[in-house]
Symmetry: C2
Subunit: 258 residues, 2 copies
C-alpha cells in the first residue's frame, strides 16, 4: 500500500492515495499506521479518493473532484481537520492531480475552498460561531465554535503555564499571549489528546477572540505562533475564517502488510 | 534517499541503505529523520554500509561484511544498540544481503554475532560486568554493565510505580517484577531519554540481576515483558548474554530532501 507522510506546522498525517476507491480503512489499519513506534506515526490518516468513487462523498459530486476521508489516529472518523486539508491539497498539487491556485475539496464537513501556493496553503474554514463565555479554571474564556468547540483564554505568558491540564475536558482550550499587534503566541490542549504542536481550528478561534478583545474590525491577518510553526489567520468580514500556513510532504513509500 | 522503517519491541529505527558508502549522516539530517512530527520519527538511525567502504569499520574488515553505523535521534554517535542490531540484521536478510541463520555484524562496539530466524533475531550482547550495588531512591539496586551502565531494582509491581523519575540520571534504571518462574515484567528509565517502550541492554541487565537473586545456575532463558513486547534473555555460562526477540520492517520509501 502506497503512502506519503506530511505535516502542517507539525500536525502530521499519513496520506493514502486511493485513485480507484478500493481502500478499506479499518480502524486497526489506521491505528497501526499512526502508531509512533510500531508504525509510521501520525496524528491522523488522509485517504485521497475521487468524489465519484466514494459513497460518503456523493452529495458533493460535481462540486469537487477529490474527497478527503479523514481518520483520527485511534481509527475514528472526523469530519474535518484544518491542517489535514492543507496537507491534502499540497499532495494533490505535488502529484499533478491539481494545479497551484484555487481548489474545492469535499470533506465530511462540507466543501472546503483552498488556495495552494508554492510556500503555503490557505483554507477557508467557514464561519466562526460565538457562544457564551465559559469558565476555564476560574478564568473567563471566549467560546468559539469552528465546527468543534473552543475556549480561548488570554494569558500574559504561555511559557509560564507549565503543563496544560484544564479541568474542562469537553472543549479544546487555547491559551493565547499577545506578542505584538496582530501577532499571537498560542498553546493548545486538544480534547481527547492533550497538548499538541498545532491546531488549525484552535488558531482560528484564538484570532476570533483576539479581534473581539481588541475591537479591531475584521479582515486583518494575524500571525499565530504555535509550538510547531507559524500560521496566519484572517477573520473575514463575511464571518468566515481563513487559515494559512506551510504544508509539506517529507517522504513517500510502501507500507508492508504485516 | 531511500529509507526503511522498522522496530524491535517498539524500539524504532530508520534504516538507510548505503551500499556505496557515500551517505553523510550530518546530525541535522539524523534529527530531521527522527523528528516524530516533522520527519519519519525514530529512536535512532541505522546506516547499512559495507565494512570495506567505511573507514570507522576498517578494524573489522575480513571479520564482517556489513557495518552498523548507529546514531541516536539527537544525531550523536552510539557504539551499539541491542534492538537496533536485531532490526539491522532483519533488513539484511529481507533485502537478500544475508541469509537466515548466523551472521557476524561489525559495530563501533565490536563484532556482534547474530542469529536470524523467521520469527525472531538473537544477538550475543557480550559479557555482563557486575559492580557494587547502587542506591536508587533509597532502594538497593544491582549494578550491571552491558557496555552501558544499568541499575536493576526489584519491585512488587511495575504498574504501581506511576511516573518513573529516579534521582540518579547517570544510569539506566530498570524496575523489574516477577511474573512467574523465569518470567519478568520490566519498565525502564533510560538516561538522557526517560521511560521508553523497550531497552535491549536493560532486559539483559534485568535477567542477570534475576539470576543472581534466584541463585539459579546460568544458561536458562527468561521471558522479559516490556511495554513494547516480549524479549527472551539468556545469561550464558560463559558470561555472555543472548538477547532474542521480534524485529520487523514496516515500511520503505524515499525521504525527500526539503
Amino acid at each position: 500500500m502506497r503512502f506519503l507522510k506530511g505535516h502542517g506546522t507539525e500536525n502530521d498525517f499519513v496520506l493514502l492515495p486511493d485513485p480507484d476507491g478500493t481502500l478499506v480503512l479499518a480502524p486497526d489499519l489506521v491505528q497501526a499506521l499512526c502508531n509512533r513506534r510500531a508504525g509510521l506515526g501520525a496524528d491522523g490518516v488522509l485517504r485521497v479518493v475521487p468524489t465519484a468513487l466514494e459513497p460518503d462523498a456523493h452529495p458533493y459530486k460535481g462540486e469537487a473532484e477529490w474527497f478527503m476521508d479523514y481518520r483520527n489516529a485511534d481509527g475514528s472518523i472526523a469530519e474535518m481537520c484544518g491542517n489535514g486539508v492543507r496537507v491534502y491539497a499540497r499532495y494533490l498539487v505535488e502529484a499533478g492531480l491539481a494545479e497551484l491556485g484555487e481548489l474545492d475539496l469535499a470533506t465530511r464537513g462540507g466543501i472546503k475552498h483552498v488556495t495552494v501556493s508554492a510556500d503555503s496553503v490557505t483554507v477557508n474554514m467557514g464561519p466562526a460561531v460565538l457562544g457564551d463565555p465559559v469558565d476555564i479554571d476560574g478564568v473567563p474564556a471566549t467560546f468559539v465554535d469552528m465546527g468543534n468547540p473552543h475556549a480561548v483564554v488570554h494569558v500574559a505568558s504561555v511559557e509560564a503555564l507549565g503543563v496544560l491540564d484544564p479541568a474542562r475536558k469537553d472543549l479544546n482550550v487555547e491559551y493565547v499571549e499577545d506578542v505584538a499587534e496582530r501577532h499571537l503566541r498560542m498553546r493548545v490542549h486538544e480534547r481527547g489528546v492533550g497538548e499538541t504542536r498545532s491546531c488549525g481550528t484552535g488558531a482560528c478561534a484564538a484570532v476570533v477572540a483576539a479581534v473581539l478583545r481588541s475591537g479591531d474590525p475584521r479582515g486583518s491577518a494575524y500571525q499565530v505562533d504555535v509550538p510547531g510553526g507559524r500560521l496566519v489567520v484572517t477573520w473575514q468580514e463575511d464571518g468566515h475564517v481563513l487559515l494559512q500556513g506551510p504544508a509539506v510532504l517529507v517522504a513517500e513509500g510502501e507500507w508492508r502488510d504485516s
